[in-house]
């Protein structure tokens, strides 16, 4: 499954954080380093599996935990309307 960024969402990586701007409410939030890794892969058209793989490669985390964390992150981003 792939995701894309809705038209009301804009982002830029600033000091290793993905700063995400939601034009619907004029507000920003930031993702930490590992979440930014996931965000950049998904928004570039990468798959969920590729994002999980990247987290396992770049961070000290067990496989099941990485998968659960990535899925939870994506669920949250989708529920906030920041990913579709």
């Amino acid at each position: 499954m792939t995701y894309h960024v809705p038209s009301h969402v804009h982002f830029r990586v600033v000091d290793d954080e993905a700063v995400i701007f939601d034009a619907r409410n004029d507000d920003c939030l930031a993702l930490n380093v590992s979440a930014t890794t996931v965000w950049l892969i998904l928004t570039a058209g990468g798959s969920l599996e590729a994002a999980i793989e990247a987290v396992l490669e770049q961070f000290v985390v067990e496989g099941d935990l990485a998968r659960a964390d990535v899925l939870a992150l994506v669920d949250q981003l989708v529920s906030l309307g920041l990913l579709e």
Partner: protein
């Protein structure tokens, strides 16, 4: 000049007794003060004024900021001064000490780039503005200058004629204590809070403001400091440090 009448949708109105109001009339944006009205499009400003002196003072930066916005270019509220190889922007609401901090560096031979309206060209360089600062009379003590309609003194300054690249930005606000580096989301939010005008002039404006703030935060170190806390010594040390 006839009475001010509402033409089209009201974009902004100050609290009564209102001084300033902004209306949209087709493709034009109307800026209205007692005795002064500007009809602004992306390529023209039509002035209708029974108070020419006030109109001249409001033309830049008020009307100019709207022209820029209609051309797709956002601006920040700040004072920018340039040294030999550095340029620092001090941003903040009115009364936080932006121009005073700029004046302290001008007193040391720095040059004024712009006071009040900070706009950048396509390369991210700050565009020169009018060659004067506007200071309250107590802050302008010892400096010659004409008093404008708002009671502030216009102090002429040695000015830059070419755009400059910033080497540091300081945002003055009550939420900050001692001057400290802001990064990531904190830096972007600090800059977003310094958008020049609250007028919602274009549906794409929020995105453009985010692009301006986040782009600046990736290129230049951003600091937060308490209002009226900056000295010339401190600013010179700050731009000399230039953290990576």
């Amino acid at each position: 000049m006839g009475p001010v009448t509402e033409a089209g949708a009201v974009v902004w109105r100050d609290e009564p007794p209102f001084v300033f109001a902004c209306f949209r009339d087709g493709a034009a944006t109307i800026l209205s003060w007692p005795g002064v009205r500007f009809r602004v499009t992306a390529d023209r400003v039509i002035v209708d004024a029974s108070h020419p002196a006030a109109a001249a003072e409001l033309l830049v930066p008020a009307a100019w900021s709207v022209v820029l916005a209609l051309r797709g270019q956002e601006a920040l509220h700040g004072c920018v001064v340039a040294g030999e190889r550095q340029a620092v922007a001090v941003l903040g609401a009115s009364g936080t000490g932006k121009s005073t901090a700029g004046l302290a560096l001008l007193d040391r031979g720095w040059r004024l780039v712009t006071d009040d309206l900070l706009a950048c060209d396509a390369g991210g360089r700050v565009l020169p503005g009018p060659p004067f600062l506007r200071l309250t009379p107590d802050r302008a003590a010892g400096w010659a200058g004409r008093q404008d309609e708002d009671g502030k003194r216009r102090v002429a300054a040695l000015a830059c004629s070419a755009p400059v690249l910033l080497t540091a930005v300081v945002v003055l606000a009550d939420e900050y204590g001692a001057c400290a580096r802001l990064t990531g989301l904190a830096a972007v939010r600090a800059l977003l809070g310094q958008a020049y005008s609250p007028l919602p002039l274009h549906p794409d404006q929020p995105r453009r403001r985010f692009e301006l703030a986040s782009g600046l935060a990736t290129r230049v170190p951003i600091y937060g400091a308490a209002p009226r806390s900056l000295t010339a010594d401190y600013l010179e040390r700050l731009v000399a440090e230039r953290p990576s």
